[in-house]
Symmetry: C2
Subunit: 462 residues, 2 copies
């Protein structure tokens, strides 16, 4: 926790944005920055690195802290259609056989295979049609030698028959039918339990429930199924400069976009997101609002700009609820993060930077994997690809840099990526044109044009 009591607080954010072109000379300074009077981070021994004398937590370590603390909500039972998109939380076995009875696999004529062994186009076998059976009909007549029953796909197989001759391989007769081909016994017949035998597993624990699983659940008679629920996430914005959308901002003020953007991102990641809005500029009401969110949610997400001097209402409010650990994470944009468990239910509270671009990057890196973990998904992270960078990229040493970019397929195969904007965190219009994050590792300070970089495509819903 940062001690707000004595002396100047370290300037928390974005002090490492390196833009070499901004230097009037090319002498890059390496200032020795004092670490200030921060209380030692209890977890500073592991997963941390020193960068220019500043002790930083690695991205992986902060991610471990977050993922290690998010709850595993108990499974809930939902109507099968409401379970769509969620992961099955029970082993669903079938008490039924599917199909439940021997039936025609297509439209045609149910016959005895021995009756048609000699059938050819030149010398068809002629059979008497003694009935016509639809799907759903229960009174199928049995057949004996020389007889056939016209059957529709799904219709119960008449007793005595062991094949269904496809209509196309007959003359489609009504009273008598001529069969043009021999068939092996069992052809075009669906046998009881061919698809699912009683006791078979219909849906495994952990299977995503899609249309095919919903088909199968309905087929085995399930109206409801236990699933991993959507985690409930409350989203709050902190900052004296914020006004709600719809209020024209006075000079120096800006519209709160984070509670909208993060609620949308959380929903896109599979959470049930609740936009709780801007924290009021009053400690008592702040405490009440945050505590109220911890009672209704599995995780509380706060996008905050933290004051760099003087008393900070939000930090005081958080301390009153149990306190969060503030951490400098070796990432850019937005190295200042906080995490802790607050309120009577010890609900995880994740603080991400208040700059909108940094807030969405932090969401991608820490919050989306946490939501997917709560959903029970095995794949927590977006797939990454290697892409050729269309231009030179510069990145601060010791920090993992995330840049918005546009990735496209290269005509010769593979991918090519173009960064969008100059990395400035306030560039919403530019960010809106991005379809990926470019990830530049901590030990890389420069990627030449034409060099390979790691790219994280960000498809919606993906």
């Amino acid at each position: 926790m940062i001690d707000p009591g004595s002396g100047p607080r370290p300037l928390g954010r974005d002090t490492v944005q390196v833009d070499r072109s901004a230097f009037a000379s090319d002498r890059v300074p390496s200032p020795a920055v004092a670490t200030g009077d921060r209380t030692p981070d209890p977890q500073a021994d592991t997963g941390s690195v020193d960068v220019s004398g500043v002790r930083l937590r690695t991205v992986e370590h902060h991610l471990d802290v977050v993922l290690g603390a998010v709850p595993q909500p108990d499974p809930i039972e939902l109507a099968v259609l409401d379970a769509q998109g969620l992961l099955c939380a029970e082993l669903v076995t079938s008490e039924l056989a599917l199909p439940a009875f021997d039936q025609a696999g297509l439209d045609g004529y149910a016959v005895r295979s021995v009756d048609v062994t000699a059938a050819t186009v030149e010398e068809p076998v002629d059979l008497a049609v003694v009935g016509d059976t639809e799907a759903g009909s229960t009174g199928a007549p049995g057949i004996s030698a020389g007889l056939a029953v016209r059957v529709a796909v799904g219709a119960m197989l008449p007793a005595g028959a062991d094949v269904v001759v496809p209509a196309a391989w007959t003359d489609q007769g009504v009273a008598r039918v001529r069969v043009f081909a021999a068939l092996a016994p069992g052809s075009y017949v669906r046998r009881v339990g061919d698809d699912v035998a009683p006791g078979d597993v219909a849906v495994q624990v952990g299977t995503p429930i899609g249309p095919a699983q919903i088909s199968l659940l309905a087929a085995v008679g399930r109206e409801r199924v236990a699933v991993r629920p959507r985690p409930r996430i409350s989203v709050l914005s902190a900052g004296d400069e914020l006004v709600d959308v719809g209020t024209p901002p006075a000079p120096g003020r800006v519209v709160d976009v984070n509670s909208y953007a993060l609620a949308a991102a959380a929903r896109d990641a599979g959470a049930e997101a609740y936009r709780a809005g801007i924290l009021p500029p009053d400690r008592r009401r702040m405490v009440e609002l945050i505590e109220g969110q911890t009672l209704r949610s599995d995780v509380v997400l706060i996008a905050g700009t933290f004051a760099n001097a003087g008393p900070d209402l939000l930090q005081e409010a958080l301390d009153e609820l149990g306190g969060l650990t503030f951490t400098q994470v070796a990432m850019h944009p937005g190295p200042v993060h906080a995490f802790g468990k607050l309120g009577p239910n010890q609900v995880p509270v994740i603080c991400v930077p208040g700059e909108p671009v940094a807030a969405l990057v932090a969401f991608e890196v820490f919050v989306r994997p946490a939501i997917r973990l709560m959903l029970g998904k095995r794949q927590l992270f977006r797939r990454t690809v290697q892409a050729v960078s269309a231009q030179q990229l510069l990145s601060p040493l010791g920090y993992r840099q995330y840049l918005h970019g546009q990735v496209m397929r290269h005509p010769d195969g593979g991918y090519v990526v173009e960064p969008i904007g100059d990395g400035d965190q306030a560039m919403l219009a530019r960010m809106a044109k991005a379809n990926c994050l470019i990830v530049v590792d901590e030990d890389v300070t420069e990627v030449a044009a034409g060099g390979l970089v790691t790219v994280m495509p960000m498809l919606l819903g993906g």
Copy 2:
């Protein structure tokens, strides 16, 4: 329209399922199938092919008929968070500049660039700190020569300052600050309108609304936005053999899975789906139920097994509402399809085969693209990839065959695909293991093991 009046009705479905291994001999018959007494299809001249003497509509032609008839719902205005996942239906221009005022691009010290041109680590420039400005603060003091103001990212730039020195390049002093580096004028300053100038387009017509677009809409002050709405789709199941899930099926009966599976698939494709259930076995009530759905929906989807003999209640009910055109489409599984516009609102009604596997294939081929067209999406079809088939595939000549399969990445690059099951349409458990459809073209009857096939990966939500 099929004339149900005279003589035997052609056996409609699945008469072309070729499974050569089912033949006792290897003499494959080529029976000349009578086309029966079907009324000529008015569109039979174009987009149709003859297969073994049967006139079939091509998949493309039937798709054209469906896509050409679905309505384009009028745009609706939604709260920005409710617009998530939909396509913007208006050109959103900004009346504001973003940023709205010159501001610090990061935490540091606002200074005059001319004051620090000589600054180096060895010979820092020393300035007096005359203030401290947070984001949201409106009373920034101006500065003149030799002065600095400590600024937080997003804080209004003090009058007179033209750069922000990153805190890391200073000694982070409180009363005085030592600056270690020179900066070009404008460094780390966000100027009014850098991101969005008044009159700039914030969101284009046709842009999918995701978290980044929601950020931008909020930032330019929009609480609501016009979008293409989710098409409303009613899903009905037809078939005397059907019982509702939860009712144990009597012998010969099966549980209705289609209304569940198709509603789930429609929702997954982006529609607002309403499961209207099983059509009642009574013509009057059937007409009422179908007509009722045409009044509440943009499209009605019916999965039906159509009787192959005798009067068909459903067809009579459909005729009473205006009638659908029944068509044999050159595809497998499920060649029997119907389409038309019914009811006072002339709402498109799409009939797909009643076999559950064929119903979901038909959904993929015809209904999903129609939903995406109504949503305004440019990309109507799933991306396809070429994959190596792990085993031999057989396919009926003249029919496009869709087989469920499992596609995976090949360790040496590219993809490999394995068909699931034997193509039987009732195999729900097998279908539930599939992650793709294998598409075998009309003119291909055999794909050797190791040969290339077209594969349509079917990611949920994709």
